[in-house]
Assembly symmetry: D2
Homo-oligomer: 366 residues x 4
Amino acid sequence: MAGNTFGTLFKVTTFGESHGLALGAIVDGCPPGLELTEADLQRDLDLRKPGTSKHTTQRREPDEVEILSGVFEGKTTGTPIGLVIRNTDQRSKDYGNIQNTFRPAHADYVYDQKFGFRDYRGGGRSSARETAMRVAAGAIAKKWLKQRYGIEIQGFLSQLGPIKLEVKDLSQVYENAFFSPDPDAIPALEEYMTNLRREGDSVGAKITVIAKHVKPGLGEPVFDRLDADLAKAMMGINAVKGVEIGDGFDVIEQKGSEHRDEMTPNGFLSNHAGGVIGGLSSGQDIVVHMALKPTSSITIPGQSIDREGNQIDVITKGRHDPCVGIRATPIAEAMMALTLIDHALRDRGQNADVQCMTPVIKGLAE
Amino acid sequence: MAGNTFGTLFKVTTFGESHGLALGAIVDGCPPGLELTEADLQRDLDLRKPGTSKHTTQRREPDEVEILSGVFEGKTTGTPIGLVIRNTDQRSKDYGNIQNTFRPAHADYVYDQKFGFRDYRGGGRSSARETAMRVAAGAIAKKWLKQRYGIEIQGFLSQLGPIKLEVKDLSQVYENAFFSPDPDAIPALEEYMTNLRREGDSVGAKITVIAKHVKPGLGEPVFDRLDADLAKAMMGINAVKGVEIGDGFDVIEQKGSEHRDEMTPNGFLSNHAGGVIGGLSSGQDIVVHMALKPTSSITIPGQSIDREGNQIDVITKGRHDPCVGIRATPIAEAMMALTLIDHALRDRGQNADVQCMTPVIKGLAE
Amino acid sequence: MAGNTFGTLFKVTTFGESHGLALGAIVDGCPPGLELTEADLQRDLDLRKPGTSKHTTQRREPDEVEILSGVFEGKTTGTPIGLVIRNTDQRSKDYGNIQNTFRPAHADYVYDQKFGFRDYRGGGRSSARETAMRVAAGAIAKKWLKQRYGIEIQGFLSQLGPIKLEVKDLSQVYENAFFSPDPDAIPALEEYMTNLRREGDSVGAKITVIAKHVKPGLGEPVFDRLDADLAKAMMGINAVKGVEIGDGFDVIEQKGSEHRDEMTPNGFLSNHAGGVIGGLSSGQDIVVHMALKPTSSITIPGQSIDREGNQIDVITKGRHDPCVGIRATPIAEAMMALTLIDHALRDRGQNADVQCMTPVIKGLAE
Amino acid sequence: MAGNTFGTLFKVTTFGESHGLALGAIVDGCPPGLELTEADLQRDLDLRKPGTSKHTTQRREPDEVEILSGVFEGKTTGTPIGLVIRNTDQRSKDYGNIQNTFRPAHADYVYDQKFGFRDYRGGGRSSARETAMRVAAGAIAKKWLKQRYGIEIQGFLSQLGPIKLEVKDLSQVYENAFFSPDPDAIPALEEYMTNLRREGDSVGAKITVIAKHVKPGLGEPVFDRLDADLAKAMMGINAVKGVEIGDGFDVIEQKGSEHRDEMTPNGFLSNHAGGVIGGLSSGQDIVVHMALKPTSSITIPGQSIDREGNQIDVITKGRHDPCVGIRATPIAEAMMALTLIDHALRDRGQNADVQCMTPVIKGLAE
């Protein structure tokens, strides 16, 4: 496939299947001198890991990451960082019965078409389990962005099925099982999810990620624009079907006089653009939204075919999240971080001598 | 910048500014043996070119493309295809007055921050004028996709400001100045645009692109998924702020039992996924929507700053499209074509020996 | 650094330091369906591994490789193959005394200049220990090349210091500790090496690698020519200072009438070109030679400086090969295999439809 | 092919055939702010261009380059630089007779095998005529390297057939038609070439290129080492069959005690390594040698086959250099420059914060 690398200068390559021996990654291009231990990665991995609430899959994986290289005497050396997480709670036999069938909305059929056969154990490589390594690599990027550039990244659940969540208190996002920025909505979310599980159904979700304190000018037009690479990063997350920067699809009905973010010596007056103009960061908060489809694994029977093309009915057993969107928040943060660090390095590589005389004006949110 | 190349095996690199001497591109990786003349490219260029109706910029550019290499005795040779279009209707003096000011919602400020100065003539490289070369390169990809794989690509305007367009007759899309798939809506579009010009304002739009007859299995997970690369391709078009595959943001409120596209021996029963599952093409129509922001150049005064940081009022003169979305249809088709040909070649490179025994089932639309 | 990936479609990324926890690699782009077990990799790893004769370093590393992903039910799946080898015989304390000194001809000084500090334990990442992963990845490439294309790769020692080795019996190369193609020369090699160890000195070597049965046309001019990529692959092996294709530096004094490989319906009449013409494989044997410098770690004192810039005398202790060239044979074979598989896939991706009517003529050696 | 791009951050992509309409290039990633005019490129183009002495091809090409983009008000803008040179002295009819034959040692046969047919006019894309664009792009790199880093690049002819040239006066290299560093040898070179032309034969050559004032630490191990990328750059020049860094093939017989470049507070005591250690620049002069094969186009008849596989005799007419090595000096300089600027940008991108406390010691030559 050779499609398992993300980034140009800060390159992350991953491997691993849902029910294989291990997941792993190589982070190549991390600058030297960053203090780094497994604990820095574990915090984000723990946020993503399964089995932490009754609303996610009951598979129990500690997701303990080991740093195998690239760190010496507590600091990154500039050489590639090897990461590995051993799988411990595989239950491949759960999947024996789907060996010859294609679950609707799953990658089963398309993987079979592409490769001539597939690893049917829990979706193999197509399982979202691989995103654990994105989170691990993203944690390194986040730490570097924070320490070196002061950039902070914050994701949250902005909608679950029909329930839209207000941003009331971002400090509470990691304190609840839903990554909800509205602590008051949690009972409603609990109830909705409980009913959903009873129905044996699943539902979609919307996630928002914000990056603060990004300097103006990151992005490499005309193709490697910052917004283009953010779109790739987010659409590449399992189950994502839509990506917006700033006002996104609302711009269709906006007038130019309404959409444009006017500027004053004291800063921008609005942020409809979501922090990216002309493919470059504007210095305002970067705001990205994404839509995640409902989990494909549900117990309500559905029509499908087997490998011989015969009609069958499929009920998907195994252990699954009834809303994959919930656990996507740390993954979206990781992909934001990986995109930004790559562009920060690309910008510095080529333009380190640029002396811009124009004052940087303030973003709205600051 | 080094961000001006699109693709991995079918590589397109472009150059050129709005008011420079010429635009150009190199298409590297086009397979040998394709019959190709300038006329194949000119058709799509004519669809995109300015000045063809009163609803687009009045700049007059014939956009005549010259093929400088890579074609011998009427066929591609497999070597790089050099393309060039001379600019003929530059009016740089229109822009002298913005040399030291930043137009809101334009790339002026961010380019200045990135590069330390900018080419202020019509936006320089940040102008959508560069998309002419994407269209030219895309025309080569389209021809190859059609001839070798039977893939057809069709874009259209699906919404202009508040006016939503029904898909009534796709054969009429290229016959009207709006790329509207609903010929009956044209008077309403005309009227809306006329009023908009009078107000000196602009408006957003939504474009849809569909690819038919794509075989299952294109895409290279986990990062170079087909949907991820389509998102990058589309979000990288000037003014695009949102991208959807299939049902897009509607999936947020969908249940799993509703979203999943069930399969039968006679084919899929629905296409909520928009033709991409698990990052791979499913064999169904690939359906992509995108939202384009309103043109930033309007004559209604707006607040901004100059290069010294002083408060100013800006009115954007020059020749502009009041709705950039209108002319985006051929650009979106081109980016779809460039994404698909690259993935078709990547898939064949690696998996040419794969003998899949599973029958390919039909997509919904066929 | 982000320089730890080799290849475009068959991508190998490695990590690991001489005295770190482990070495590892991700092989991304291996086609599906290849039967593969650890044993396929172990054979080549055993040929490279240290401590197998008195003429190589006495560090004892079993170099047991584990396949962590990408193989299911005994076959490759087309997803990335994760590989890891745990280090077991680190003796970091051997290197405590060089922490602040720069050993001449070692990478100590330049790594310090690049990264601001270095991993001084056995050279860290700059140690040739990392080549174990090249050999592991190369073994996968070799197996695929053999099985799918019939390509065979054979390396051997062609010169050790002043002793030039004749190609008498290639079947004996892996049967002796020197990779000598001349079994009769082994006593002389033994004696030479014994004297060298006594002197506390080291010596250079020349390695040759040949690939047989490569079809004509591999290579992607004008920059990714096959010869250019072979040169990169070989010059990138630790200690290599020169690379030749075919007659190499002998061509300087050749006349055109002498150098050109004439063609007849029965095949080429000579192979001065070494199987690459115009950057493409010619169908003849591909012949590459390389020169390896003497090991830098010797016990004869040498002048150097410490991190403060003071003059010091250096004696390099630790466990080292007195001739690094000896163990380079399997590494050179691996790099040949990785280069060829990548070009085989690139060629098929783009040119799979090409129907060449010209008969393929035979290479000289066949 | 998609092999026509060189570099990672300073990316050069070229197009054009020997007898097509034009040659061209896009230089993507050139930092903003460099003063640049066509004259900066023309100097090097004039050094490479044909027809300047009786010892090179008599084809008359002014090789006048036009900068189409990326430069505004006399300075680079950071956007891609489009370059084009129109061909003016094509004589395609010279080649009609070789349409169905394969000239020995030419790329005719292998291009036919790869692409299914070929552009037979003067070798098409395989002609060294394409190197004009490498020289043009290299001139931009050279100017930047000189101005920003103080790096100077100097190539020269070090051997022509049997005549070895001493480095007597580098200032004379561009003053004679042979790029000879020994002005006294010119009569001998003249005589040798005159005899060669009479014989209708050709001969090989050796070129050396040196880069001065390169700071320590450029290069990205383990695969994108500086020496590896230099080897790729040089081996990728038409006719090159061997590349050496520093002592090159002489290291085979060297002892470690002889080869190692000892260090003192006043600098290195020797430069056997040729300025690259462990894949990184050492701060010493970078010294690269390369061997070029004799021109394949000679008038002495040779055996070959036609496209149907019949035996034929070939005499190559047309206008050719009897020693392609002579004009290779500016090409080799260009490739050295392109390699160094790319690595300079890559190093700065990732390691710009590194504060190295170790003093940089002097190279031998300074």
